[in-house]
Structures are given as C-alpha cells and as structure tokens.
Subunit: 122 residues, 2 copies
DNA sequence: CAGAATCCTATACGATACTG
DNA sequence: CAGTATCGTATAGGATTCTG
C-alpha cells in the first residue's frame, strides 16, 4: 500500500527534526534570512553586479554589512566572487548554481511580500 | 509585438522600487525573516497549536521572543490567535488564509534549506 | 496556562576613517 | 575601486520573576 503523493505537513515529514535547536538548517536559515541576505541574493537575480553597484542597489546597506553578508553567502556557496587583478580593483558578484536554486525559491516569496506589503503595512 | 511570458529578473520588473530603503516590503520581510518568524510560521503549517506546544516545538525560543513573534505575525494578519476564556487559559494559534499563502511559499524554501544544510555546514 | 514585566547582556549594526 | 579596521551604540534577545 504505497502512500499517496500527498504533500504532508512538514511536521509529519520531519518529526521534531527541523525544529531542533541544533538542526544544521538553522544556521543556513539564519544566513539567508539575515538582515541583508534576501535583498542581496535577490539583487543578484539574473545579473552580475560589482561591489559598488550592489552597494547602490541595496539601499541602506552599510559597507560593513555588505561585506559581511557577501562573505557569508560566498562561504555557503550561494555567491561567486570574481576578482579581476587590475588597478583599480574590479570585483564581480553573481549567483552560483546553488545560489540560483535558492533564489528561484526566494523570488516567489519576495514577490508575494512586495505585493502584500502595502495592504499589510498600510 | 506582445512581450513573451518570460519571467523577467525582478530588477527589471521593479526598477529600483523593491530595493528602496523605505519600500514597505522591507518591514514585512523583516517580520517574516526575523529570528523566529519562519520557524513559528512553518510550525503552524497544517495544524493548530497552543502556546505551550508552540514553545516546545520551536526549540530554543524564549517566552519573550515567542510572544513578540506571535504578536507581530498576528498584527500582520498571518497568524490567528484564538483565546478560550476558561481557567486555566487555553489559547490556540493557527494560520490565517493569508498566512497559509505565505507558508505555502515558505515551505519549498525551508525544505530546500533543510536538505542542503548538512552539506553546506558539514 | 499563557503570557507580561523587568533586568541584563551580547552582538548586530552603522558611521567613520583608512588602505592596497 | 573594493574593501578592512576601529569604535560606539542600539536593540535584539535571553533569563528570571510575577500574575490573572
């Protein structure tokens, strides 16, 4: 008796697992949902941006936080840092294949929030 | 020449808009991606939970943060608080229709992160 | 049981200045 | 240009206590 292909509640699929304090997913979740994580990732959707472009695109991000966010996302394998050894420096950021998978899941969420936000915040 | 139904990069659909510092979406995004926001929302997927169940389910959340997170999510219209006026108190939390929409978008992301996390953190 | 109130601390975050 | 280093603060967040 094969189970139906019904989508089960997450709680049933991962009894206790994903809500455990030391579940590895919490670390990645924290990185992605960090203050600037989603914005930086979405900003890189479908394009390559230089440091300064990224800084200007994601309004309000400080240099420190942009650097920190990019380092984390690069270490997680979501963002590719491509530094050209020229003077003045030229560094390009883009999504890795894994990063693209992630952003593909992030975009519907982000679009929905953008659409709903005005009526929620008013 | 009607444009193709191609999914355009977000940056093209919302030139500058969504990355503006005062875009309303930032507020909602902050609420959802707050430290415990995603976890609480996902915990309520497909079920109703009492305060204490929620507290035990989402391991590590303090009473203060659970209360704060629930209040925010309720104010945003994602979570329904149903208080039964009995002694001792009995309060149930569940998703509103809007909350269910949100969680439907959150779940694929969360599942993906749960699956990828071990190899990323490892 | 379901929180609110209080207190306290870590650290996330920003502003500024500096550098290869 | 693309960052790093330093410093200072706000506030997010936790532990504890209290209460209807």
């Amino acid at each position: 008796m094969a189970a139906r292909n019904k989508v089960l509640p997450l709680a049933d699929l991962f009894p206790n697992g994903v809500f455990e304090a030391n579940c590895p997913s919490r670390v990645v979740l924290d990185h992605v949902t960090s203050k600037w994580g989603v914005l930086v990732l979405v900003a890189l959707d479908g394009r390559t941006l230089r440091w300064s472009e990224l800084r200007r695109t994601v309004e309000g991000v400080s240099e420190k936080m942009l650097a920190q966010t990019l380092r984390t996302l690069e270490a997680d394998g979501f963002v590719l840092r491509d530094a050209h050894p020229v003077i003045p420096p030229h560094v390009e950021y883009s999504l890795t294949p894994t990063g693209r998978e992630l952003v593909d899941l992030l975009l519907p969420l982000f679009r929905w929030i953008v659409e709903q936000a005005p009526s929620i915040i008013g």
